[in-house]
């Protein structure tokens, strides 16, 4: 009979560190409070800085921390619940939906977008860039693609300032028959990262949506949400508030 082997599978240091820090955040820190710097924290826990950073990275991924170069590491507030429909079937840009247009061009869509829209690969489409802001901070960057066939009544005298509003106005004259969406994990491209106030490569939730009218795909959008600060909400019962982070909603079976 050997001794009972409690640590037959010793957990990695960074994993244990993450647990300790997570508990400390709950009990010893307030939202917005700044943590000691990484070199001090590493020394305090007796690990290399890279090991500490591995724990911090996971906590940031889970929305518990926010790190800013040149500033420091702060305790993040709970994630915002962001509705991504379909609460009511509405066209993008209709009503007050917290999106702000930042640009609009007519250009050939990438191959995958053409496949989504069902257009020819080199077909020029209206491409509207928008940003979604909540509580004063950007939460999503979007590219909305509208084939010319969906907006036949578009006037010809368009300036950069009138292009996007005109496309949206024409789009809204169609009857929206349905929409579908998909969500997947991605990393922010350089342009999206800049608009989201993050570094390139930051984790994002990519929402791809298709809008149907007249039996065809009338428009499509690719929205890039900050994964660290957002919780996407769906469904007919409305967005709901939770009081804790998602980790707290899960337990061992």
């Amino acid at each position: 009979m050997g001794t009972t082997q409690l640590e037959s599978v010793p957990e990695p240091k960074y994993w244990h560190l993450k647990t300790v820090l997570n508990d400390a955040l709950d009990s010893e820190f307030e939202v917005g409070e700044i943590l000691p710097n990484e070199r001090d924290l590493a020394a305090r826990f007796g690990v290399a800085r890279a090991t500490l950073r591995q724990a911090l990275e996971q906590l940031e991924l889970e929305g518990r921390l926010q790190r800013r170069r040149g500033v420091g590491t702060t305790v993040a507030p709970p994630r915002m619940g962001v509705s991504v429909g379909p609460s009511a079937n509405t066209w993008p840009g209709a009503g007050i939906d917290a999106w702000e247009t930042v640009g609009c061009v007519e250009a050939a869509a990438p191959a995958a977008i053409a496949a989504l829209l069902g257009t020819a690969p080199d077909q020029a489409v209206h491409t509207i860039r928008r940003v979604r802001v909540m509580r004063g901070q950007p939460v999503a960057a979007e590219l909305l693609y509208v084939p010319p066939a969906s907006v036949p009544g578009l006037p010809g005298d368009l300036t950069p300032a009138t292009h996007a509003p005109a496309v949206l106005r024409e789009l809204h004259t169609l009857e929206l028959e349905g929409e579908d969406r998909s969500v997947e994990l991605g990393s922010a491209r350089a342009d999206d990262a800049k608009q989201l106030d993050r570094l390139p490569g930051a984790p994002v939730l990519v929402v791809t949506a298709r809008y149907y009218a007249a039996g065809r795909v009338a428009a499509a959008s690719v929205s890039t949400y900050r994964a660290d600060t957002c919780r996407l909400t769906f469904g007919d019962a409305g967005a709901f508030e939770v009081t804790h982070h998602q980790q707290d909603t899960r337990q061992a079976s």
Copy 2:
């Protein structure tokens, strides 16, 4: 007049490396093909192994690679589209929905779950653990919580084998009035990771759902989906197939 400064913001090595590898995966490798090992790749690109790993980690996060300890790094197939409703308003466990029950206990729910359900913090609830399998591999691990009040007709003589089916059967006698969901990024806990065939800390998409009946929350579930292999689909137009990865659907504005 100085010279034009093309590289005023030099991109990090790992970022450039990621781009190079991403292109190589498209042009020189097939799905399932095994890559050279990390030490060889690092030497080939003239960088330290840690730097190469930073690039590989991002590519794995984006679903382009699959890495397995003791085996190697392979080119991942496109992500699976996984429907997470509401395609039709149905109770969990109804019909053929690809979930397999692996356990069931009656125990006090964690505080956040009690808040979701609207039950007392120490109220015992039926907790069913299920696993979702697609194409022969696990894609999600779930905990489904059902308060006793939602299944009043539950018989008393329950064995581990009959517990879960009985709870589901009783649940299905209620009329489902609505459901809502939220999606956020998380990292796999040890128990979920084991069932998903991943290491602890692997990125996951956490889907929290509430099911309404008789004007109350009759059940709630927390589902943990593998973020590397899954694209979650929502909406009334049905899951759709895309031919490329999400990166291909995005372009610079």
